[in-house]
């Protein structure tokens, strides 16, 4: 096993890991603030992909890519993902604020089904694999005999920038301090005059927006979308969050990248049918050997 055989898989794993990381950060922040494993999170990603598909389809002539369009549609999709997440929180989770976490989790499974079947029942979307309206160019660069496109590089860079910005907001602004305070002790935060519902909404918005960004980038990367695309990536992002230490932004990012590489290398060595087995094997191993994840759950970094 040399770098020449494994190297390309590691790099490909970074692309995959960038998507995982973006989704995992939102997953993890929501867990941090509500202790809720939001099984619907992957479907925010899926629904956002369909939104970007429709808008981009409407504004694109032919298949030639117009980067200006991709950028503004990307931003609109992030907003849509954020609004969807906030709406779900407002309509489903907030009325259950005093309910047991288990009830919330079951409600989250329900929301997941509602979103998937909602998309399924929209005639323009449906159950088929839909080709994404634009195809990125194949121009790029060669590294150790493997060709990478500028788009792939751009995806990883944008993902990292978004995660770093999120990390900065959470750990180095007053708003982020308020999020961490609400995560630590909601009643005490209320007694500080903090509108905790608004902070929770904000966390959902950020999580949904990051999922929206991942949706646009993954759709560009894979070239097709489907109403079930959020299911397994949601579970993988959850795995990534647990792997890194659920509840903190840095952990989710590290966990995402690591899981991407693990899956990609595993696929390269044993074949694609092993991909999910690697992911969930990692989940089981983490829970078994180090339940607090790689970066631990230091309360300080929750949210």
């Amino acid at each position: 096993m040399s770098w020449n055989t494994v190297g390309p898989d590691v790099v490909a794993g970074l692309f995959l890991g960038a998507f995982f990381a973006l989704i995992a950060v939102g997953y993890s922040m929501v867990y941090g603030i509500l202790r809720l494993i939001n099984f619907a999170h992957g479907d925010f990603y899926m629904a956002a992909a369909f939104v970007s598909y429709s808008i981009l389809g409407a504004v694109t002539l032919g298949t030639r890519i117009n980067w200006g369009n991709v950028v503004w549609v990307g931003i609109v999709t992030m907003a849509a993902g954020g609004v969807l997440a906030v709406a779900v929180e407002r309509l489903v989770y907030r009325p259950m604020r005093r309910a047991a976490v288990l009830s919330l989790m079951i409600a989250a499974l329900g929301v997941s089904q509602i979103l998937e079947n909602g998309v399924l029942n929209i005639p323009a979307w449906g159950s088929n694999y839909l080709p994404f309206p634009v195809t990125p160019p194949t121009t790029g660069f060669d590294l150790a005999g493997v060709h990478y496109t500028w788009t792939q590089l751009g995806i990883v860079v944008i993902a990292l920038v978004l995660i770093v910005v999120t990390y900065f907001v959470v750990n180095h602004t007053m708003l982020g301090t308020a999020m961490r305070a609400v995560a630590q002790d909601r009643a005490a935060a209320t007694l500080m005059g903090i509108n905790t519902d608004r902070i929770i909404s904000l966390v959902f918005f950020i999580g949904g927006a990051l999922a929206g960004a991942a949706a646009v980038m993954a759709s560009l990367y894979y070239g097709q979308i489907n109403y079930l695309m959020g299911f397994s990536i949601g579970l993988q992002a959850f795995t990534a969050a647990v792997l890194g230490g659920i509840g903190n932004v840095a952990g989710a990012a590290v966990g995402g990248l690591l899981l991407g590489i693990l899956e990609s290398v595993g696929t390269g060595l044993f074949g694609p049918q092993w991909a999910l087995l690697f992911a969930f094997g990692a989940l089981v191993l983490t829970l078994w050997l180090r339940p607090s994840g790689l970066l631990g759950e230091r309360i300080g970094q929750r949210v």
């Binding site: 308020a178 209320t190 309360i299």
Partner: protein
């Protein structure tokens, strides 16, 4: 002028009675004690005033305004500030973050927040050396002072303090009490919840004694200090009958 008044307030937790028929008031420049044994309903009264629990009956008004429809966070912004039982500082935030956060909900500019922090730290010198530490690293007494300092960041018009002496060394209790006296002297009335009657009577002008969710005694602290019914209320024998 009456700052806080409760009339006929009743709070239930599901079918379980928290408190009933609570009448209570706090006037300007006063320190008022709310006394009672464990489980008598003292903290429940504070929670109702802060808006953390919703009373089933009765009225709570603050500076002449009915609080019924005022959300908890808004009450704090209007100056109704509680230092909760067990301090409830944010252990994983720094001392500075704890303090700044307490003025964050007010929508004031960063510079004004810093200025407030500066004036609060001025008054609580114990805090200054620890600003960059995680609050969870402070000793119990330091945490209690931080909790009160944090309350002062909100520029309270009434400060409610729940069991500040709990778990503190006697010397520390004394300095925490001195702080409360000083705060009241500077014009902020204080509603003090205490289990330790002897301590509470020393610094308060009036007191209410709760037993099993009802106010069984109320009056001037000096008079109550010698009243055997206070002890009876604590022991749970005949307190209600004594009224």
């Amino acid at each position: 002028m009456t700052v806080l008044s409760l009339a006929n307030v009743a709070v239930y937790y599901g079918p379980v009675r928290g408190v009933v028929d609570v009448d209570l008031c706090v006037d300007e420049h006063e320190i008022v004690a709310l006394l009672g044994a464990n489980g008598a309903g003292k903290s429940t009264v504070l929670k109702a005033v802060s808006g953390l629990v919703r009373p089933r009956a009765g009225t709570i008004s603050f500076r002449g305004e009915d609080l019924k429809r005022v959300p908890a966070a808004t009450r704090v912004r209007r100056g109704l500030v509680q230092v909760p039982e067990g301090r409830r500082i944010f252990p994983a935030l720094t001392v500075r973050e704890n303090l700044e956060l307490a003025a964050f909900g007010f929508g004031i500019a960063r510079a004004a927040r810093r200025a407030r922090l500066e004036s609060v730290v001025e008054r609580f010198p114990l805090i200054r050396a620890h600003l960059q530490k995680l609050a969870g690293m402070l000793s119990g007494g330091e945490q209690q002072v931080l909790a009160i300092a944090r309350g002062m960041m909100a520029e309270p018009k009434l400060l409610m303090v729940d069991e500040p002496s709990l778990g503190l060394a006697p010397q520390m209790v004394e300095s925490v009490y001195d702080l409360l006296v000083q705060i009241a002297a500077e014009g902020t009335p204080v509603l003090l919840v205490e289990q330790n009657v002897t301590l509470a009577f020393e610094i308060t002008s009036r007191a209410y004694v709760l037993q099993q969710g009802r106010v069984v005694l109320a009056g001037h602290s000096a008079a109550l200090a010698d009243d055997p019914r206070v002890v009876a209320a604590y022991l749970g024998a005949g307190g209600a009958a004594a009224r």
